[in-house]
């Protein structure tokens, strides 16, 4: 795509990269939700999952004739490659899925990785790994998809568990893959707890990525222990379950887990009802709360 193909374009980008973006692109910045220039042909959205999904929703609902070019400034959600829109509304998640939600184009700007703090870069990998692993284990995945995700996870294993620009592409592939099957309990917990945790503990930096990073290890252990078929499935595709557990363990934070535990207990019924939980590779039952309160995590 060339600049001339964009027509009249505007950029909406997350504040953390706006200075960098403005120093490299001569396209004006705007806030589409409040001040979208008339006759704009292309919206270039540069940001994390929140901004990219809000852009997808805004175009779908308000400006369907505008083309969206999505550029991630952080990996994890892979929203730039997903037909799913996840929005936060009144402390809860509103999720929509349709192929028409896919951006017109997605672009990887590797240098944006330099703007990501190391801790945030690592935390975001919780979402990336949860997308890949849950998408693979999903009861809705078929052999072809599992084969694709297995290759993807092998590529993910070769990257460091921290800041590396190659994560942009692999994150996008993980998101696109799980959209073809489903996610599971990690996302069910993350979606249910995010709003209440942010409200109850506003200074703890809670968000979707952090919750995925915190719960990936406990949930993966749960899935492996309650159905050995999960381990066997990974091995069938040349993946080492224990190596994946180690990655999940490296992303885990015991302190964060303990801080979230009271809300997990009080919201467990809501977790069970979450649509993501209902497509977990292991049936999650009410008594399983005991696993998460009495196992070795606490």
């Amino acid at each position: 795509m060339k600049a001339a193909d964009l027509g009249k374009a505007t950029i909406w980008c997350t504040p953390s990269v706006s200075v960098y973006v403005q120093s490299h692109l001569s396209i004006p910045l705007s806030e589409p939700l409040t001040n979208f220039p008339a006759d704009t042909r292309t919206l270039i959205a540069i940001g994390g999952g929140y901004l990219l999904d809000e852009s997808k929703a805004w175009i779908q609902d308000k400006a369907p004739n505008v083309r969206l070019v999505a550029i991630p400034s952080l990996w994890g959600s892979g929203a730039e490659a997903s037909p799913i829109i996840v929005q936060n509304r009144n402390g809860a998640k509103v999720i929509r899925m349709d192929a028409k939600f896919l951006p017109f184009a997605r672009v990887i700007w590797p240098e944006l990785a330099r703007t990501i703090p190391e801790a945030r870069a690592k935390e975001a990998l919780g979402d990336c790994w949860a997308n890949a692993l849950e998408g693979f284990l999903s009861p809705l995945a078929d052999d072809r998809l599992r084969g694709d995700i297995a290759l993807l996870m092998q590529a993910m294993r070769r990257l460091p568990l921290g800041n590396h620009p190659d994560w942009f592409e692999l994150s996008a592939q993980a998101s696109a893959a799980q959209a073809q099957s489903s996610v599971g309990l990690v996302h069910g917990i993350a979606h249910t707890l995010e709003g209440p945790l942010i409200a109850a503990q506003p200074d703890q930096g809670w968000g979707h990525a952090k919750l995925c990073a915190v719960y990936l290890w406990p949930v993966t252990r749960f899935n492996f222990q309650h159905n050995n078929a999960n381990r066997e499935l990974l091995q069938k595709y040349g993946l080492d379950p224990d190596a994946l557990l180690k990655i999940a363990r490296d992303l885990y934070s015991d302190g964060a887990y303990r801080k979230a535990l009271p809300l997990l207990q009080s919201l467990w019924t809501a977790v069970l009802r979450d649509r993501c939980t209902r497509t977990n590779s292991v049936l999650v039952r009410a008594p399983h709360l005991d696993y998460f309160t009495t196992e070795a995590f606490v």
């Binding site: 009861p139 809705l140 489903s182 309650h226 159905n227 019924t269 069970l272 009802r273 649509r275 209902r278 497509t279 977990n280 590779s281 292991v282 049936l283 039952r285 009410a286």
Partner: protein, 81 residues
């Protein structure tokens, strides 16, 4: 636990029912949570509980608790005791 009791417990967990609401003549249309996601959960739960391989097509075709019993019986699961 008998297979019938296992099935009742499974229905409570899959469809998030109150145990007192579980009846052997329940039909899919009577349970709000027996939607497309409920079919997925049911398929997973039946495999875990009874060890039987249930295909997605078989799971989708189930319209009642009695259908579940009929399907599992055809796979050698005994509900008579």
């Amino acid at each position: 636990m008998s297979n019938l009791d296992k099935l009742k417990s499974l229905l409570v967990d899959v469809f998030l029912l109150d145990p007192s609401a579980v009846r052997m003549d329940l039909k899919r249309e009577e349970i709000d949570s027996w939607d497309s996601l409920g079919v997925v959960s049911l398929e997973v739960g039946l495999k875990e509980t009874f060890g039987s391989q249930i295909t997605p097509q078989e799971a989708m075709a189930i319209k009642s608790v009695q259908d579940i019993i009929t399907l599992l019986s055809s796979k050698g699961i005994d509900f008579s005791s």
